[in-house]
């Protein structure tokens, strides 16, 4: 896995936000579209694509997409 691919998968969960707007330092909770359903979608996407089980706390403790990527990578 690499971060570019992770960002692409992450951004595809959003309906309205532009893919180009996502970078490793994007603070994902600041995105207007962010919701608890999107948090669940991130957990489901990571489970499906990376076979890693994230928790709600993992997401809560991550600020940027890169933070989250690191959690997925080390789990």
């Amino acid at each position: 896995m690499n971060i570019e691919e992770f960002i692409k998968n992450f951004s595809e969960l959003f309906e309205e936000a532009e893919t180009a707007a996502f970078t490793p330092s994007t603070r994902f909770r600041d995105i207007e579209e962010w919701s608890s359903l999107l948090a669940l979608s991130v957990i489901a996407m990571v489970d499906q694509k990376y076979k890693v089980k994230l928790t709600g706390a993992n997401i809560l403790n991550s600020q940027t997409i890169e933070d989250l990527y690191k959690v997925v990578k080390t789990k």
């Binding site: 359903l37 669940l40 489901a44």
Partner: protein, 248 residues
């Protein structure tokens, strides 16, 4: 003392008794004088429930109700009983677009197919006494509302609601009553909901007019009522226990 709510002299099968609502139902039914047959997947946890049952002559069966073999263990080993409480249930919080056939099979299998099959097989073996009572644990999720990422769980509980009405009609000639309880969020569910954060739970609790989630024993008391002779004219009904959640 006259007590129509007593379960004294009744033998009750409780599935999913190793944790949560099932564990509480077993413990409270025993306190009300029932003799219990409890089932669960985990021996250690089922032993723990067993230890907490008041009175004697209780039995336990380790089995996985996801398998035909597991259901067979229950059906074949159960003596003549007066009631069943179908507590075995699971949930998986997954957004609908990520639902897989395996998730559907697992949730519908345990929450819907298993209680249906066990009830039917016990009836065909005439192991449920006349004046017996079958109680399903439904949920507000799938009958009155739903939660995000909860579509298949909701489907399984909606299916239970339809099932009990049809069963109640078909079993009325046998004088066997069929009902469900419809809880809102109960404290026990939280442990399995790892994908929801503590903050989200605290926020969700505030949406209940009674400002908290239910306790397992509060569900158990309603189950006891439906099992007892106090509810002898109640069949095909859903008893809502949700701290007022669905009023808003």
């Amino acid at each position: 003392m006259h007590n129509p709510f007593s379960l004294s002299g009744k033998t009750i099968l409780v599935t999913g008794a190793s944790s949560g609502i099932g564990k509480s139902v077993a413990i409270e039914c025993a306190k009300m004088g029932a003799r219990l047959i409890i089932t669960g997947r985990n021996r250690e946890r089922l032993d723990e429930t067993m230890k907490q049952l008041e009175g004697d002559n209780h039995q336990q069966k380790i089995c996985d109700l996801q398998t035909d073999e597991g259901m067979k263990i229950v059906v074949e080993n159960v003596p003549l009983i007066d009631g069943i409480v179908h507590c075995a249930g699971i949930t998986r919080t997954v957004p609908f677009t990520y639902v897989t056939p395996e998730i559907v099979k697992e949730i519908i299998g345990i929450n819907f197919i298993a209680p249906l099959t066990i009830s039917r097989q016990l009836l065909s073996l005439k192991k449920i006494r006349s004046n017996g009572s079958i109680v399903f644990i439904s949920s507000i999720s799938g009958t009155l509302c739903s939660y995000i990422g909860n579509s298949i769980y909701s489907a399984s509980k909606g299916a239970i609601n339809g099932l009990i009405k049809g069963m109640a009609l078909d079993l009325a000639p046998k004088k066997i009553r069929v009902n469900s309880v419809t809880p809102g969020m109960v404290e026990t569910d939280i442990l399995s909901a790892g994908s929801i954060s503590e903050d989200q739970l605290q926020e969700d609790m505030k949406r209940y007019p009674l400002k908290r989630y239910g306790r397992p024993e509060e569900i158990a008391y309603s189950v006891i009522y439906l099992l007892s002779d106090a509810a002898s004219w109640i069949t095909g009904s859903n008893l809502l226990i949700d701290g007022g959640y669905t009023l808003l």
